[in-house]
């Protein structure tokens, strides 16, 4: 069938797969005993998570004083981690919803894992504001619930309340989107597995799916609707996150550019994380025919585009600070680039603006090893972007008398390590028990790039 390739469109899935091959290849990792590599990474991830659990338990028991925060710098490591993880999640929704609306059919190979990544990243993100409350058992106070104190309601004019709603809805919709996409694949596993337990569990969660075309028609409609809803949702989420800062009057935070700047940054960092995971997955699980160099290249192109947007935002911030004539604003930016935390600023600028420029070269985009190193640097750079915006702005506000510096304590670093541990633990469990690639959707694009008369044989 190799001779029936279309000259206009390259096939999305290599290796001339039949429908049966797709089912077998994707289900293969689920039907084997986990490999040694899986166990090693899983145990390392669990250990990292354990470190985080110990640190957070100690912090909750002792108090927020275990962190390096002070009166001036009230938000630092934890909120940086929160914004970082929320941003990671955005690429999953972008791939699953926005690329779906744009009919980018290559997304089928990566959307399942990207959506899973979104859910896990939002879980990691949600932990930080909750533990920052100091008394996390009272976290329900951010919800408007009937009470005997008036009833006293939350302040719906506050961006922090908006944020709580945005993150909760984002998590719920991402989970629903992911689950709806999983139903047909769970039915495939149900009809294929020989294990009774597995059949019972997948049978329960596949809700009696039998591939009826009447159901498929509605399913496609629902999928389109969810994509249409998730697209403005994902933009709203990081917009609202940016409002946490932009509606305050701290120099360096109080900027109208924040919403688009944060959304572009979120997609940028999210794609870096998707690529980090996908490059490992395709190698370890041998999905090279499904997640091809073409997929890596496409994602790299999104990274170049969003790196450009982020770079433009960095420059615009400086221009506006200079042009505004506002001395506090000017000082905040001079301090950012040349002050005591200049090293963090230049790590950010180097990793987010300079390093991605390497991806203009096709040879680099098509070299998974090099791409892997580049996206790791972008992950680092984007973490520092949030640190630069949040922490450096706070250390120097209007009154020199209240200036302070900030350094994280071991407890804060352990909590960050723990969040990575949680993320990878969840992702590895996902890779072990659920199909990493959408079986149904990939079968739908198998004929892509083959001549009409070619057919499957």
């Amino acid at each position: 069938m190799a001779d029936s390739y279309s000259i206009l469109r390259k096939p999305l899935i290599l290796g001339n797969k039949s429908y049966e091959d797709v089912t077998r290849d994707v289900c293969y990792p689920l039907e084997q005993k986990p490999s040694k590599a899986w166990w090693i990474t899983f145990l390392v991830a669990m250990a990292m998570m354990g470190v985080g659990i110990v640190a957070v338990t100690y912090q909750v028991e002792t108090g927020i004083g275990t962190w390096g925060l002070n009166n001036t710098v009230g938000w630092a490591f934890d909120i940086t981690n929160f914004v970082f993880w929320i941003g990671i999640g955005h690429a999953g929704t972008l791939i699953s919803a926005i690329l779906f609306l744009f009919r980018q059919r290559w997304r089928t190979s990566v959307n399942r894992s990207a959506e899973a990544m979104t859910i896990f990243a939002v879980i990691c993100a949600g932990i930080f504001p909750i533990i920052h409350m100091g008394r996390p058992w009272l976290a329900f106070w951010v919800l408007p619930y009937p009470n005997f104190r008036g009833p006293l309601w939350v302040n719906f004019r506050s961006p922090l309340v908006w944020d709580m709603f945005a993150i909760s809805v984002y998590f719920t919709i991402s989970l629903v989107f992911w689950y709806v996409g999983l139903i047909p694949d769970l039915a495939t596993i149900r009809d294929r597995t020989t294990s009774k337990v597995k059949r019972a569990i997948t049978g329960f969660f596949s809700l009696g799916w039998n591939g009826s075309n009447r159901t498929w028609l509605r399913y496609e409609t629902v999928y389109l609707l969810l994509a249409g809803l998730a697209t403005p949702l994902v933009v709203s989420v990081h917009t609202i996150v940016s409002w946490d800062f932009a509606t305050s009057i701290i120099p360096g935070w109080h900027a109208t550019i924040f919403p688009p700047y944060f959304v572009a940054g979120a997609i940028f960092s999210g794609f870096a994380m998707v690529l980090t995971l996908m490059l490992i997955v395709r190698k370890v699980l041998h999905f090279e025919d499904y997640i091809t160099l073409h997929h890596i290249e496409s994602m790299c192109k999104v990274i170049i585009a969003t790196a450009g947007m982020v770079g433009l935002a960095y420059m615009t911030e400086f221009f506006v600070a200079a042009y505004s004539g506002n001395e506090y604003e000017r000082f905040a930016f001079v301090n950012r680039a040349l002050g005591p935390y200049a090293w963090a600023y230049w790590i950010m600028a180097g990793c987010n603006v300079l390093v991605p420029q390497l991806l203009w070269w096709k040879n680099i985009r098509r070299n998974p090893t090099l791409v892997f190193f580049i996206v790791i640097l972008i992950n680092v750079g984007m973490w520092f972007e949030r640190f630069v915006i949040i922490t450096i702005s706070l250390t120097r506000d209007y009154l020199p008398a209240s200036w302070a510096s900030y350094a994280p304590t071991s407890i804060e670093i352990a909590a960050l390590v723990g969040s990575f541990g949680l993320f990878f633990t969840l992702f590895l469990l996902f890779a072990r028990f659920l199909p990493m690639i959408s079986i149904g959707e990939v079968k739908g694009v198998l004929s892509y790039g083959h001549k009409k008369e070619g057919g499957h044989s």
Partner: protein
């Protein structure tokens, strides 16, 4: 009453579309088609109307948005008004973000629940898989043998052109869903 069904399986998406269209044109009653993935164009071949779920989505979204907007105004301006920085009690622009989020929540979750309801998808439902490879690599067309004139060999001949792989006759369970 137990119905007699004719179950024909095919190996390719183009064949199932062709066979379905041919069966429809020949006047056979199509019970359903079972496919491993969403085959585009099959709904037209079967003569299915577009789903009405978008209307449910719109209705639920509007319900969520209106309810949440009212709720914010009620809590902030009526139930327990708190003066925050001298801002108006009923500051509608500030209520837009949460209204939007709740609209998406209602529309998204509600549409999925409505989809489960109309498609009778629920935990514990017996999948009623006529051919277990329909969720793997086979495309299954199910016809209803609705009258005595139904001629199996004629159907077989009709489907030959579409590389039919297997034709079986089945009886339905008591309640066909």
């Amino acid at each position: 009453m137990r119905d007699r069904l004719l179950v024909a399986s095919f190996g390719d998406e183009k064949d199932i579309i062709g066979a379905t269209r041919a069966a429809k044109e020949a006047g056979y009653e199509i019970v359903d088609v079972y496919t491993p993935f969403a085959v585009h164009g099959l709904d037209k071949a079967m003569g299915l109307r577009p789903s009405r779920l978008p209307w449910i989505c719109l209705g639920l979204g509007l319900t969520g948005a209106i309810a949440k907007l009212w709720y914010q105004i009620w809590t902030s301006a009526t139930s327990w008004p708190v003066n925050v920085g001298g801002k108006p009690l009923s500051s509608v622009p500030a209520f837009v973000p949460v209204t939007f989020e709740i609209m998406v929540l209602f529309a998204g979750v509600g549409t999925v629940l409505a989809f489960f309801f109309v498609s009778r998808l629920r935990p514990g439902r017996a999948p009623n898989v006529l051919y277990d490879r329909a969720t793997n690599d086979k495309f299954v067309l199910v016809l209803l043998q609705n009258d005595a004139a139904f001629n199996v060999s004629k159907v077989q001949k009709l489907f030959q052109k579409f590389h039919v792989e297997k034709i079986e006759e089945r009886l339905t369970e008591e309640n066909r869903t």
